[in-house]
Amino acid sequence: MKMRAFALAAVIAGLGVTAVTAADEPQEVRQQLMKKVGQAAGALSGIAKGEKPYDAEVVKASLTTISETVKVFPNHFPPGSETGMETEASPKIWENMEDFKAKAAKLGGDAEMFLAELPSDPAGVGAALGVLGKDCGSCHETYRLKKE
């Protein structure tokens, strides 16, 4: 019994260590950042499609998340993080870092524009999401590789 508890503790500790190490790597950090943007977009989409009621606070929070996340996002592509941990980052990022940063800034700028004039109904949220989604796509078009 004691043995099992010990083994279990070791496994949990081991998992914790792996998680911590992984979370520190830029590849993992930027994957998490993209997930945050995705969740925010998901919240906006729920409202746009009428699956969730319109809530100005949710709209504001989601747009803020997008704007703030993409501000720091391009800082997590240091040399040496081109491969590994299932990164889908294209080598073109490091060849055109300025353009890559400009694309991130475009998304951030558009999110701020909608924050300044908050969409006031589901249709407005849908229109905003259309603009933001195009920004996502225009960067993924060049700078993200599919591995599967």
């Binding site: 995705g38 977009a41 599967e148």
Partner: protein, 304 residues
């Protein structure tokens, strides 16, 4: 003795000639008879535009980097890298000399569905006539009509850049003999009009298999791996498997797929990427029933 050798020799020569003749006959360009394109009437331009977006003509034939309305100038020039060399999409604007303004419907139709050029030459299958072969004469006629309404450009596109032996057009007849077919890629219940429509769009004008299906060393499809994903022809990464067995989209519902084609968002709010970005923008211009038909077809495929 000598006479016999001579006879044997001439026999051999005849045999070789006959063989070459059969080979020539088997692999010669085969445009449609003119009659195939007659009686179609005035093109339906609205449908022609739908076919235009379903086919994604701008993807290769717009100038590289062109934006917005400039994309409707089908000047060509975009390089398409392949294991066989680099193809350059030609000018297909209605310009009479640089483009295809001087062509007839029959010439255009045989280029689209039989891979035969205006001068009766074989075209390279980098132009996806292997998919377009399934298109109806009506859709070709409507598309032809729509293309005439687009702006002209007098600029000539660069020629293909292909090393020997791939620069020999005659050999394409052999490729066609092996791989050009207008048969369905998979057997489905085509009594269901939605599935039939999806099959038409995906296997025909949409030419999805051109990137999503792996090819053998001769550039023919691995028929058993239809839409099961392939290496990215333009470099790193992969073009995903889009059958129900896919790790990435196998779990998507029909409405997830239709919604992705409409908005570019995946169900977990990742977005479309790579060369699919442009395809998705085109798909967004189709009626929602067409996107739903494509989704229904993809869900009905054998899982790979």
């Amino acid at each position: 003795m000598r006479r016999r050798t001579n006879r044997l020799l001439s026999g051999l020569v005849l045999l070789v000639l006959a063989g070459a003749g059969v080979l020539w006959w088997l692999t010669k360009p085969r445009p449609w008879d003119e009659a195939h394109w007659q009686g179609l009437g005035q093109p339906d331009l609205a449908n022609g535009e739908q076919v235009f977006w379903a086919g994604g003509c701008t993807g290769c034939h717009a100038a590289p980097g062109a934006k917005d309305d400039q994309r409707l100038v089908l000047v060509g020039g975009r390089p398409l890298k392949s294991p066989f060399g680099t193809f350059h999409a030609p000018n297909i604007s209605p310009d009479e000399t640089a483009g295809i303004g001087g062509w007839t419907l029959a010439e255009f139709g045989s280029a689209m569905t039989r891979g035969v050029g205006k001068d009766g030459e074989h075209l390279y299958p980098s132009f996806p006539y292997g998919s377009y072969a399934r298109m109806t004469a009506k859709d070709i006629n409507d598309l032809w009509g729509f293309l005439q309404t687009l702006p002209k450009s007098a600029k000539l596109a660069a020629p293909h850049d292909l090393p020997f032996p791939y620069n020999i057009r005659l050999a394409l007849g052999g490729w066609k003999l092996l791989y050009l077919t207008d048969e369905p890629r998979v057997a489905l219940d085509t009594a269901d009009p939605k599935l039939a429509r999806g099959q038409y769009l995906v296997e025909g004008p949409g030419h999805c298999g051109e990137c999503h299906t792996p090819r053998n060393a001769l550039g023919g499809f691995e028929a058993e791996r239809w839409l099961a994903g392939a290496p990215n022809p333009e470099g790193e990464g992969r073009i995903p498997n889009i059958t129900p067995g896919s790790k990435s989209i196998g779990g998507w519902s029909m409405s997830d797929i239709a919604s992705y084609l409409e908005t570019g968002f995946t169900p977990d709010f990742d977005t479309v990427g790579g060369s699919m970005v442009e395809v998705q923008k085109n798909m967004a211009k189709l009626p929602s029933a067409d996107r739903e038909a494509i989704a229904a077809y993809l869900k009905a495929l054998p899982p790979l």
